[in-house]
Symmetry: C2
Subunit: 462 residues, 2 copies
C-alpha cells in the first residue's frame, strides 16, 4: 500500500485537485507532521501523503473516488482528540480532515433534532441547542474541541451517560460516503423507524473503517435544570462502590456519578487548589438535574453515610455544585502533570466496580507504577490513568504491562476493554480477545463488505 | 427452493430428529396450518415442511446446521402477533418456533438488566421486573402475548416510546445462531461499550433474516410511578396536533401522548362502553409518570385549551387515569369490529403530523373506505386502520390502494413506511422506495453476508 501510494504521489495530488480547491489540499511536511497523530500515547503513525480539508459532500466523494481508483488509504480525522490512535496516519495515506465541514444546518425545536456537518464542535452544538431550550447530552472530556463526526466515529460517551446514554442513542440518521464514493443515507428524521437494517448504529463507533460520515441527524432533549451535586468521602473503595450500588438499587438515576481515587484527588488539588479532602480514599460525586434534585441529593447523602462515608455533603448552592463538577473536569489534566500518561477505558458491570478498582490498585503495586483512577461509577466505566517517566524504558515497559493487565482484569470481570474511547490501534489485540473467533470473523466480513480494497483507515480495529 | 425441500422432506425430518426430541418436531398438517401466518392481513404464506420447538441453544444450532446442509429455508417465529407477515411460512420451510425457550435466566437489580430466552412473553418479563422495582418499558399492543424475541426481530415499539424509546434502546447484547449454526455473541453486559461494530442493533429489527436470536441481555429501568393522564377534546386534527407540538416545544416529556380520531372514539365506545365524547374530532391523551405529574397534567391541560381544545380534563384520580389508558388500549380491537382491517404504521416528523392525518382523511374519501387513525402522536407515529368488507373484491382493492397511498404520503412528508411494525412481506416494495438504490444495495449485501444461501426467512424485507 505504501509503495503504491508513494509512486502515485504526484498523480494523487493532481487527481485530488481536480475536485478540490488548491487551498483544501496540503502537502507541507510540517503541517502533515502536525496532523499525523491523535492524542493517544504509544501508538505508531506513518507519513501521510497529503492532507485535505473538503468543505462539501461532493468534495469528500471526490476524495474517496480518487482513493479507490489509486488504491490509496484514507484516514478520516476530526479534532484528533481521540485516545486510541484511531485517527493516526498510515504510510502514504490521505488524511481526510472534516473540521471545515462545521455547519449546524438545522435546529428543530418541535422535532427535537439537529442536522449537522461532521466538523461541528461538540460544545458549539451543545450551546446552540441550549439557546433554543434543548440539549445535546453526550459530553466527552474533550467536548470543547472534539467534533460530532469524531464523537460518532468513536461512539463517544462522557459524564452524562449514566442518565442520558452515549452518542449512539442520539444519532437518528447519517449521510455516509462509502469507500467508492457512493453516498449512503441511513436512518431517518422521525422519532421511530424500523425500515430495514439499522445501518446508522453500525457506523457509530466504526472509527472511519466503514465509510466517512458527512452529515448527521441528531436527536436533542429538553434542556435539564442545572445539576445539583453532593460529594461524599469514603475510607475505602469498597464502601464507595457499595454506596454507588445502593443508590442504583434504591431506584435513583443521577445525572452524574463519578468516583475519584486518592491519587486523583491529590493531583486535582495540586493543579487547581480545589481544597478536596486529601485524607479520603475515594471521593464520590453524585448529581441530579430533575425537579426533585434537592430532595434527591439529601437522600443520596444518607445512603452514602449508611454505606460508610465519613462525610457526605450536598452542595449548599449552585456555585458550590459547579465547583465540585469543575474539580472532576480537572481530573485528566491533573493526572497529566504527574508524568507521561496512558489512559485506559475499561467498563465492567456496575456491581463489580469495587473488584475492578481493587484489582487496579494491586496491578499498580505489582508493576511498580502510579495509577490514578477516575470512574464514571454509575456506568461501571473506569479510566485508570497510568503515569510514568517515558524516558525510562524499563518504567515505560512496566506501564505498558499494567495497562494490559487492566484490560485483562476488565474482561475477567465480564467487562469490555473500551467503554467509550474506541479500539483504534491501541486495543486491536484486545478487541479480538473480547469478541472471540466468531465475533472477529463476522466483524472482519463487515469490514470487507464496506471496504473491499481495504483503503478505509486500514490497520485500525483489527 | 420448494422442490428441493419437498424432495428432502423425509430426510429433513430424520435429520432434525437427530438433534431434537420427537416432541419438538411437528408434521401434523393441521398444526402446521395453524402456524403458517402471523396477524398481518393480505400476506401470502406457503406450506411449511415442518414445525420445530427447540428448548435449547444447541437444538437451534442443530436446526440451522440441518437447514444449511439441506438448503431448506427457516422461518423463525415468536407469538406470531406481527402485523407485516414477517413470520409467515414460505413453501417447504422449517417453522422455527422459539416460544418454548421462555425462561428469564436472570434479573439483576444492581446492574439493571435481564438475561432472557427469546420466547419470554413481554408481559411476563415486565411483571417480573416490576416485582424487583424495575421496568422493561417497550409495550407493543400485543404485550400480553408477544415474545421478546419477536419484539427484537421487529424492533417493536409501543405507547411508552415517546419517553422511553423502542426495543433497540433496551438490547445490550444478543446470542445469535447464524445461518450455518455458528453461535455469535454480540454486545455486552456493561452500561457502555464500543468494542467493535455494533452488531447488536443490526440484528434488532432484522426480522429473522440475518440470524436467530436465542438469548438477550436487556437493560431495565427503575419502575416509574403510575401514569396520570388527561384527556383533551379538539374540534379539528390541526388543533390537536398544534397542542402536541406546543407540549413538546414547552419542554415536556410525557410518558404517553396518544391521539384518536372520531372513527376510533366511536368504535371504542361501541366496544367498551367507555363514554368517550363522540362529538370530538380528535381526542388527545397525555400522561406523565414523574414526580411532578400532577402539576404537569394541569399545565398541559392549559396548553391544550390554548391550542383550541373544547375540553381538557386531567383525571381526578388513578382509577380515572387507568380508565383513559384502557380506552386507548381498546382502539385496535374496537376497529377490528368494523370489518376486515389493515393496520398501517407510518411515522412522520412530529411537526408534520397534522398534514399526515389530514392527508389520510382525504385518502379515505378518495378511495371510499373507512379509515380510523390512532397515533402515537408524540412520536409522529400513525396507525391508520383501513376497515373494509373483504368479501367485496372491489372494496378490498380500494382498501389496498388507500394503504399504499398512506405510505406514499408518509414518505412525501419525510417519514418512514414503518415506525414499529416492520417490513415483512407487506411493505417490501415500499422499503425499496424508502431506502433508495444505494440503501437497498448495501442492505442486500448485508443480507448476503449473513445468509449466503438465502435460507433465513427468505422473501422478507427485500
Amino acid at each position: 500500500m505504501t509503495e503504491i501510494a508513494s509512486n502515485a504521489h504526484g498523480e494523487l495530488t493532481t487527481r485530488l485537485l481536480a475536485g478540490l480547491p488548491g487551498s483544501a489540499v496540503v502537502e507541507d511536511p510540517a503541517v502533515l507532521a502536525a496532523y499525523r497523530n491523535d492524542m493517544a500515547g504509544f501508538c505508531e503513525s506513518g507519513d501521510p501523503a497529503v492532507l485535505v480539508f473538503p468543505t462539501t459532500v461532493e468534495q469528500v466523494r471526490h476524495v474517496l473516488r480518487t482513493a479507490t481508483e489509486l488504491r490509496v488509504p484514507v484516514v478520516p480525522q476530526g479534532a484528533r482528540t481521540g485516545l486510541s490512535g484511531g485517527a493516526n496516519a498510515v504510510p502514504g495515506c490521505i488524511l481526510l480532515s472534516l473540521v471545515k465541514m462545521d455547519r449546524i444546518l438545522e435546529l428543530d425545536r418541535v422535532n427535537r433534532l439537529a442536522e449537522v456537518e461532521p466538523g461541528v464542535v461538540n460544545a458549539v452544538l451543545s450551546r446552540a441547542a441550549e439557546e433554543v431550550g434543548l440539549a445535546y447530552p453526550p459530553d466527552p472530556s474533550s467536548w470543547e474541541s472534539c467534533t460530532i463526526g469524531g464523537n460518532i466515529g468513536t461512539g463517544a460517551g462522557g459524564l452524562c451517560c449514566v442518565k442520558y446514554g452515549v452518542t449512539s442513542e442520539y444519532v437518528l440518521g447519517l449521510d455516509v460516503v462509502l469507500a467508492d464514493g457512493r453516498l449512503l443515507r441511513t436512518g431517518r428524521r422521525t422519532a421511530k423507524g424500523v425500515a430495514g437494517y439499522d445501518l446508522t448504529r453500525l457506523f457509530v463507533g466504526s472509527e472511519g473503517t466503514l465509510g466517512v460520515v458527512v452529515g448527521a441527524t441528531l436527536a436533542l432533549r429538553p434542556k435539564p435544570a442545572p445539576q445539583l451535586a453532593l460529594a461524599a468521602e469514603f475510607p475505602s473503595t469498597e464502601a464507595a462502590c457499595a454506596a454507588v450500588n445502593a443508590v442504583v438499587e434504591a431506584g435513583f438515576t443521577p445525572s452524574l456519578m463519578e468516583l475519584m481515587d486518592a491519587v486523583v484527588v491529590r493531583a486535582v488539588n495540586r493543579l487547581g487548589q480545589m481544597g478536596l479532602p486529601e485524607s479520603t480514599r475515594a471521593l464520590l460525586l453524585v448529581a441530579f438535574d430533575g425537579p426533585e434534585r434537592q430532595r434527591e441529593v439529601q437522600r443520596v447523602a444518607e445512603l452514602c453515610r449508611a454505606a460508610g462515608a465519613t462525610e457526605a455533603v450536598p452542595a449548599d448552592d449552585q456555585a458550590e455544585s459547579d465547583l465540585l463538577l469543575a474539580a472532576r473536569r480537572l481530573a485528566l489534566p491533573a493526572l497529566e502533570t504527574l508524568g507521561t500518561t496512558m489512559i485506559d477505558d475499561v467498563a465492567v458491570p456496575r456491581s463489580r466496580l469495587a473488584e475492578m478498582l481493587d484489582g487496579v490498585a494491586r496491578i499498580a503495586e505489582r508493576c511498580g507504577v502510579l495509577i490514578g483512577v477516575v470512574s464514571h461509577a454509575g456506568d461501571g466505566n473506569t479510566h485508570p490513568v497510568v503515569a510514568f517517566d517515558a524516558k525510562d524504558p524499563e518504567q515505560a515497559q512496566r506501564a505498558q504491562r499494567s495497562f494490559d493487565e487492566i484490560m485483562a482484569l476488565g474482561l475477567e470481570l465480564g467487562g469490555t476493554v473500551t467503554g467509550e474511547h474506541g479500539v483504534g490501534l491501541l486495543k486491536k489485540e484486545w478487541l479480538a480477545r473480547e469478541l472471540g473467533p466468531v465475533g472477529v470473523e463476522v466483524q472482519r466480513q463487515m469490514k470487507s463488505l464496506f471496504d473491499p480494497l481495504g483503503i478505509l483507515n486500514p490497520g485500525k480495529l483489527f
